[in-house]
Symmetry: C2
Subunit: 355 residues, 2 copies
């Protein structure tokens, strides 16, 4: 039995490298609205510059929703899938879910004081980033299992919700939920306005993402496909049933797991898919292998000034979380996938940016 921990698609080297660079655990106490605005005054996709990426989206919607088009898709069959980290919101310097797990360690230890002097919890509590950077995969798994499993589903949901109300991204000092990409929020809305069902298909935890997906992206829980662990049905003392999150991996929703997860959870082949890394390759291939008009897009992080630059844009090989490798870039060109340049295609990155 594999543990849930291995499900988080962590590029361990990258994770450890960034651990040391992070500020202290983000136990901030500020409350902020996490509601992202997706109003689209003055036409469709207002935060997009004119260019091939915007044109590809507009064209795809036109040829799949015009009844006169030979590639028309009936409304009930319209499905668009989106990776989350690096595609819908910021994934650097670390997945927000990993930040959550580290931040949860003190609470876990408070409930189980016997962990206080046990590694790797002792090191997390010390705040020693140098030491954390030396964690083994087993250490990381222990942290993920301790903070993501073993509790009732309702309790987990409440904790995640509470965390997002106060935790802030170290660079922008804003709630993570404000770091969704405004141009992508507009794509989500534009597709939904055209009867597309929009899904998140993420390597992140399904339960974790479901907590905020409706608020941040307008995507309901039943349209979030993610890495999923098992749950166990039981009864409280008063006879009321509850579900406990188990350290048992059901779906590792990365790489081939994304195509498999789409089959498991949706049962239809997407018409459009959006990603940004090698973990999204099979989802885009699976989408592209269907008949009719298809849209496959990859977000290229080439904007160090407004966000980050990594992958081919930074001349980097496969050395970063969410890698957009040269090989993926080549496959995109070969298959006719559209690369979105954050720098050139997006007028602004976040809702809070001046347009």
């Amino acid at each position: 039995m594999k543990s849930t921990a291995s499900s988080l698609a962590i590029n361990r080297r990258a994770l450890l490298a960034t651990l040391a660079a992070l500020p202290a655990l983000s136990g901030t106490l500020f409350t902020a609205s996490a509601q992202a605005q997706t109003t689209t005054p003055g036409g469709e996709l207002p935060s997009w510059n004119e260019g091939p990426a915007k044109q590809a989206i507009l064209n795809f919607v036109r040829v799949t929703t015009d009844r006169a088009s030979p590639t028309f898709v009936p409304p009930e069959e319209r499905v668009a899938t989106f990776d989350q980290d690096g595609t819908l919101w910021v994934e650097h310097p670390m997945y927000s879910q990993v930040m959550y797990c580290l931040d949860r360690v003190p609470a876990v230890v408070a409930k189980k004081p016997e962990l206080k002097n046990v590694e790797p919890f002792k090191t997390v509590l010390s705040g020693n980033r140098e030491a954390m950077a030396k964690f083994t995969m087993k250490d990381l798994e222990a942290i993920l299992v301790a903070t993501l499993t073993g509790m009732p589903v309702d309790e987990f949901n409440a904790e995640v919700k509470k965390w997002f109300e106060t935790a802030k991204h170290p660079r922008w000092n804003r709630p993570y939920t404000e770091l969704a990409y405004q141009p992508m929020l507009e794509v989500l809305r534009y597709l939904r306005d055209n009867a597309y069902k929009t899904y998140i298909v993420t390597g992140g935890g399904q339960d974790f993402v479901r907590v905020y997906a409706e608020k941040v992206y307008g995507i309901p829980p039943e349209q979030v496909v993610g890495t999923a662990g098992g749950t166990k049905y039981g009864y409280a003392k008063d006879g009321k049933p509850f579900l406990t999150k188990e350290p048992k991996l059901l779906l590792n929703d990365n790489n081939a797991g994304k195509a498999e997860g789409i089959h498991l959870m949706i049962g239809r082949r997407p018409n459009a898919a959006f990603g940004n890394s090698t973990g999204d390759r099979q989802m885009l291939e699976w989408t592209g292998a269907g008949a009719g008009a298809r849209l496959e897009m990859l977000v290229l992080h080439d904007d160090a000034a407004r966000e980050y630059a990594y992958g081919p844009a930074a001349g980097l090989p496969d050395s970063k979380v969410g890698a957009f490798t040269p090989a993926l870039y080549d496959e995109a060109k070969k298959n006719g996938w559209t690369v979105i340049s954050m720098k050139n295609d997006w007028k602004r990155i976040f809702a809070f940016d001046l347009q």
Copy 2:
């Protein structure tokens, strides 16, 4: 690793008992329309007699959709889940999926002639019901694994679709897809007309049920939750990706698995749930444990003339497929669940019945 076979919720004793009573493999060649009609002339739920069951449904919809009601539920949160076998359509004398598996054996052997003289395939090919009734659980698993896994998803879907076009139920000599209960089709439509998302939550195979659920019940593939096996992503010689059905159980969607499956696939607690057997108990409990107005219903098979009588209605203990046991009957009374008497509450059973 558990095999997919154990996922089929087979009450082995009952299964074997009915094997001997079945007619020859249903390789009939007739084609028939499987489209069930759910028109509702003359008011809601026209195939229901006045009584507490019909009233419970009408009342539930009223108090959850009237904005002035203290138990109003926002449209986007409305979820209703339905067991399939014995709740939405006939499950006797055997689940249609098991019939499918037996019928598929000749085709499997044609592709793998080495199985011809190997048990249990040899016995299935012989048509000897007496011998089949002596199958061990291992024999049955071998048949299910051979007929439900190992092929590409698209090929499986095509085979199931083809089977339903010709296979007929031994008692009515009609396609299985015509054996959906007309009163339940009306409930599905009535709930959807009131913004409820309707889901099937079945112990049957998720891929199997998805093939016909839209046509028979108006339920799209993404709203079918069922017993699910893993798939494996691979590439054909031409480079095109495909998914192969694997003999690996991901979700055994029965008993506690129904509540767990609802969490995995929907991520919301249902407001209403419909079942007919002990396998649905936890789904109804889970539904009932939420706040606000709740509707839990159990179909009682007490109509030997028009369908079947089994469970408490026939004075039977837990000895039949899809058992509605006395203990379940007691729990229903204790919890305020509504029992639907097929005999008393339904004007007609099938769309083809004269009303």
